[in-house]
Symmetry: C2
Subunit: 458 residues, 2 copies
């Protein structure tokens, strides 16, 4: 008999009551957002034109280690959390590895991913502020779905700009959002200045996350009672997502398990940042040591092949500048890229941790990722999202290294979501038609050359 | 503070170790399957040409109340079970009802429904018998997906005949099955005698569950090392699905809750039968009383408008005769019918219980069902399958009656699955294009007139 169950569920009473803000324990704080005009740090007042008031406070707070989760948000969390920490017994057996593999499964909710953790928080603060609604962008659609659900719950209007090529890959995501009452516009659209310019310049474009962000921001600032919300990248999002890591740590602690390696896929960094935060806190405070691995697609390699510099968060250059590992705001991953993880930059928090050598990063090609996804689906019974499968791939690689060395390492990875809306990509893979594309140095140079000119000391 | 959590999860150690066989407690046993040639009860030997040996034993056993769940099946159950029993606090608040509403949520697995509970059992016995593979049919695709997952786990070949019109509504279901290594053929097909005849007679037909069953049975008996498996209707399936009811009862007992009304959607009866079995056992033994409500679509009303008679289980008339509430094996629901629950008959166990007045049945129209689904999705955060939404609709109706009378009834319903692959139907609903269709008496007469002639005393 195994002492550790297949799935570790915390009791409702064991769920986190506070989020953990890893910035409080960072010696080198993430660089502040800059006003693109003045190149001075954005003030709360400036940010409040775009973002909800309390979220701005969270965005700027790099001192307070724990922040209360309001009761209304905890009540919503109870509908789909705690999420299970699963011991991958079947995968271990299939691989024949002495490694012990765990995954934190965030896909058991209708949005299909971890994005709901921050969506409900952002919707709550918008409601509390008395706003009419929020605007946002969505790529793969996980964030837009999550926000639609959160807005339906609090009775807020929800306007989503969905990247056109993602919509074509995942048509049904739009219907989920509409079922939750959201208004979904394909981006680029003719409803914004930025969108119209983009359509004029690149007729027939499939769009990009950067452009959809610009459209959503424009829609927020030009409509009374609206603010813009974002599902990743921002420090506030990592704060909300810390609920993933806090639950994971509580579940492991309950059984006296200490992980050696913690692995997460990384697009803008919301899941990875949330998963590793409390463990990183221990490392920063010198209490424990862990290996952290960020996994990104070879077709959008911001950490492994980008530069650490101030850049625009969006294509339309209407957002503040953020210091991050970036491929340049004009970078768009190759059209053969399936799934999310297509953002040109990376969370400032994670970028700083990576730059400080506290975290590793690897990039993987999507055909290998889908192979790992298929294997995982067959033995663990969960059809993973392509995004999450990046983490599976590297977890399997690490487990196979243990098989060679005989080491009984404990590996934890984030299984951020399910792939039910990604069947077009799976179909390609099933038909043997999936391809890989790694951008050349020349491809990347174009985006990086377009970075805004910011003094080197910033 | 509420004493009862949002989600009641049993511990792994509290999961059922035996299935419960409600037939053991029935005074009037369900009528036996008949050989269509001799009109004599099918013997084990006759059934073993089509079905796996141990499953035949379970099919014929109406005496043993508890049957051990093999360890291998319990291990698989641990990957996605126990499923949560959810207290629908948010729905109760939204409705303003004094009723207490619970639902047993079976959708948190990749097959998206309760079907996996029986699929893994049937695959296990096929493997144990040393078979190469199994054949089956699928309509909405939940069963086919579940069986594909189960077969992948045990390394069995899996051949699925998928009803053509369902495939067109749910194209991505096929890719999930293929990802699990299943071979999926659209039905009617030219790979079987039955299929070829059907295509000749009705070129361009969208197919039916009854026809797909005939094809799958033909494929099983004409291939060495294959047997046919079925996801509903059969008594063995209800036996496996009793895990739903056993867990529900254990979770309620843990908190001292006794339900007044138990509601389930009913197509072939697998979910409803599984959910109510242990409660029905108490009623049959005179220990407790409950109201049971079967909910069926108005467009396929086997209990509410069918007749209780011996009928073929399939269109091709290759299966044994079963005594059941039926619309006739030639009955095909109107093409506007979305989702599953499209079988012409009903489990013999449930048919007998219904005939004995131990259970009620109601039929509901699909537009009302989708309204309830949307409301539920918005407040409870789960996008329900159209099938499950039939139960939601009636649970809400009963809760609203309590609001009128002030009664604090406890209502339990089965939320059998998620609607992620049903977005074509949701899209229709979102666009205001969903229609209802209730067959006329003349429509139904045709199917019922075609029933096989069996002496009235059988």
């Amino acid at each position: 008999m195994n002492k550790i169950p297949y799935k570790i569920y915390l009791e409702e009473s064991e769920m986190p009551k506070k989020w953990y803000n890893v910035r409080a324990d960072m010696k080198n704080k993430p660089a502040p957002l800059l006003n693109p005009g003045t190149l001075k740090p954005m003030t709360a007042e400036e940010l409040e034109g775009v973002f909800c008031k309390e979220l701005v406070e969270q965005e700027l707070d790099d001192k307070t280690p724990y922040i209360d989760i309001p009761r209304e948000i905890r009540d919503f969390y109870k509908m789909y959390r705690p999420s299970p920490l699963v011991r991958a017994y079947c995968l271990e057996e299939k691989l024949g590895t002495p490694a012990k593999i765990y995954y934190k499964f965030e896909g058991n909710n209708t949005s299909g991913s971890h994005k709901l953790n921050s969506a409900i928080a952002q919707a709550y603060y918008a409601k509390k502020q008395g706003l009419k609604g929020v605007t946002t962008e969505t790529g793969a659609g996980q964030w837009g779905t999550a926000l639609s659900m959160a807005c339906a719950y609090f009775g807020l209007d929800c306007r989503v700009y969905m990247v056109k090529c993602s919509y074509e890959q995942k048509p049904f995501r739009r219907e989920v959002m509409r079922t939750y009452g959201a208004d979904v516009t394909l981006s680029p659209s003719d409803t914004t200045e930025v969108g119209r310019k983009m359509l004029e310049k690149f007729p027939g474009t499939g769009g990009s996350l950067g452009c959809a962000i610009s459209e959503a921001v424009e829609a927020a600032v030009s409509n009374e009672g609206y603010r813009y919300v974002l599902g990743s990248v921002l420090s506030q999002v990592l704060l909300h997502q810390s609920v993933i890591g806090l639950e994971t740590k509580a579940a492991l602690d309950k059984y006296g398990v200490t992980p050696d390696i913690i692995i997460g896929c990384a697009g803008g960094g919301s899941n990875l940042g949330g998963l590793i935060s409390p463990f990183m806190g221990e490392k920063l405070r010198g209490e424990k040591d862990y290996r952290f691995i960020a996994v990104e697609p070879a077709s959008c390699p911001s950490l492994t092949r980008g530069v650490y510099a101030y850049d625009f968060c969006d294509t339309g250059m209407v957002c503040p500048l953020a210091k991050m590992y970036t491929l340049g705001s004009s970078f768009i991953p190759s059209p053969n890229h399936a799934g999310g993880l297509r953002y040109h930059g990376m969370s400032s928090v994670l970028s700083q941790l990576y730059d400080d050598g506290l975290m590793e990063a690897v990039s993987v090609e999507q055909t290998e990722v889908f192979k790992a996804a298929e294997q995982f689906a067959r033995v663990e019974g969960i059809l993973p999202a392509p995004e999450s499968s990046h983490a599976i791939k590297v977890a399997v690689d690490e487990a196979m290294k243990c098989k060679e060395t005989g080491e009984e390492k404990t590996i934890v990875f984030g299984l951020t979501g399910t792939g039910y809306f990604d069947m077009t990509a799976y179909e390609k893979f099933n038909n043997g038609e999936m391809t890989d594309y790694i951008p050349t140095d020349a491809d990347l140079k174009k985006g990086i050359d377009g970075l805004p000119k910011v003094p080197a000391n910033l």
